[in-house]
């Protein structure tokens, strides 16, 4: 189907092909299995259950949106998938292998751009390539391509302080993609941006995803954003954080902003709203 077609296109475009990585399986797409995942915190004031028995299978090249009110554990889940924190119980398998340490097959985008102020935009994008000791000549070329793709060409030598919030977040997305990870984890990446920039960046993300297929887990508390972007919306509810429903979004791709006016869109959004329990 269309997904297969896009995958083929991604390979033809050759931008983020497996050749980018000197080691490892390269840009091969991955399947993520989350089994009976729990996360609890113990403090002097008692025990907090952040996640309770979370089960989820994320398909290869799938775009998943985790949506829910604050405190539902969606960011915690993302941080466990990225191996930044450990689960209290349960496991996460990527292609059947348990996740033990952060992998260079993963790119992460945070709510804040987290650009280093002393590095130019280009050098910020190149940071993962330096740390992972990739071929810097190829990485530099890819950085220029990525910055061009998000409309930041001409800004390579600028410093983050000179950029708007939206431009900074674009640069952060390029940084997450520089080493051609097969999985992109995004923790409320557009939450700090204004509504218009947010929509613009969402569509841009879809365009990039169409060019370079990868598994994307996108955390948000914005329901229309989740529906517009994702293949499946995983609705979570708080106290204790758990998955209350998984909603398959059957809107055609490429998605456009005016789809928000479709009756299907409204019914999806009503359903999500109903399950996460705030009208």
């Amino acid at each position: 189907m269309s997904r297969v077609l896009s995958l083929a296109l991604g390979k033809v475009s050759g931008r983020g092909g497996p050749s980018m990585l000197e080691s490892g399986p390269g840009g091969s797409p991955r399947k993520v299995t989350i089994e009976h995942l729990h996360k609890t915190y113990l403090t002097s004031s008692g025990r907090t259950v952040a996640l309770q028995d979370v089960n989820l299978t994320i398909g290869k090249d799938e775009f998943i949106a985790l949506v829910g009110p604050s405190g539902c554990g969606k960011s915690t889940l993302l941080r466990i998938v990225s191996a930044l924190i450990r689960p209290s119980k349960g496991k996460i398998l990527i292609d059947g292998q348990p996740v033990l340490a952060p992998s260079n097959e993963v790119g992460i985008v945070f709510q804040q751009a987290v650009l280093l102020p002393w590095r130019s935009v280009l050098d910020n994008v190149l940071l993962p390539a330096e740390i992972l000791k990739l071929d810097m000549g190829k990485a530099r070329k890819r950085a220029y391509d990525l910055l061009n793709m998000v409309g930041l060409s001409g800004f390579e030598k600028r410093y983050p302080g000179e950029l708007s919030g939206g431009m900074q977040q674009r640069a952060a997305i390029c940084r997450a993609l520089i080493h051609s990870p097969s999985m992109l984890l995004m923790d409320e990446p557009f939450a700090a941006l204004d509504a218009m920039t947010r929509e613009e960046l969402g569509l841009e993300l879809l365009r990039i995803w169409a060019l370079e297929k990868k598994t994307i887990v996108f955390v948000t508390h914005n329901i229309p954003e989740a529906i517009l972007l994702a293949d499946r919306v995983v609705a979570m509810s708080p106290r204790p954080g758990r998955i209350s429903e998984i909603i398959e979004v059957d809107l055609p791709r490429p998605r456009t902003l005016d789809m928000e006016f479709l009756p299907e869109f409204k019914s999806y959004s009503d359903r999500v709203r109903a399950v996460i329990g705030h009208a």
């Binding site: 941080r79 990225s82 930044l84 340490a101 952060p102 992998s103 260079n104 993963v106 992460i108 945070f110 804040q112 987290v114 280093l116 102020p117 002393w118 940071l127 993962p128 330096e130 740390i131 992972l132 410093y159 302080g161």
Partner: protein, 274 residues
Amino acid sequence: MANPAVAPATDAAEFEDEIIVDNRKLSMLDVAAPFVTFVILLLVWEGAAVYFSVPSWLLPAPTEIAKAFVEWRGELWYHSLVTLYETLAGFALSIVLAIPLAVMIVFSPILRKCIYPLLLGLQSVPKVAIAPLLALWIGFGVLPKILVVFLVCFFPIVVSTATGLASVSPAVMDLIRSLSASKLQTFIKIRFPTAVPHIFVGLKIAITFAVIGAVIGEFVGAESGLGYLILASSSQARTPVAFAALVVLTILSIVLFYLMELIERLAVPWAVNE
């Protein structure tokens, strides 16, 4: 010119830009005002000294200080160089020892627990009071002065460097951890650049302390330096010379401070421009 005191006209016939003053830029008034005030104060001082015929050994008039400046320029130059040498040598020594110590404190939790509280405790010891002891142990040469300077500079640099190295935001740590960066990579690419603006805060505090430290070292017992010159000339009732030395000392202190600020601007343009 737009005058805010005048009630604004609701109907502007002529096109008129509202002038936005850039606060970072110094206007002519900003430069001239303190200068003019300074000159007026000097004139008042001069006038009072002449009118009340204050003896020169008690409070010399500015012209007498200027005269001492010219007559004693050779001595002032020589003693300035001694004090400058002591200041810079002590300052450099403290940088060389304080920054590595701060790195060790940040990297080793055990070392941090053992040393850091002691360091903070030692910082409250008045270093000035140690100067006579240093003279007792090492004598009256240049070395004890350098050590006093070292002692007063050391703590601000250690504390600011350690604070800076530990001030990497949790978000940046997440980013760097997600890439499985080694400790060395984290230090070189993240921690140290993050710390540099903090280190400069410490260096700027230290350089002003440094001059004071050198003078105090000279007060305790010396044969040269501006502190010695002030002490010697005031004990011989050559007060204009003491004042001239004081002026040189002030200028030295200001120049060193702004030199540090210039180096900071060159080294960390991103932090200064924020």
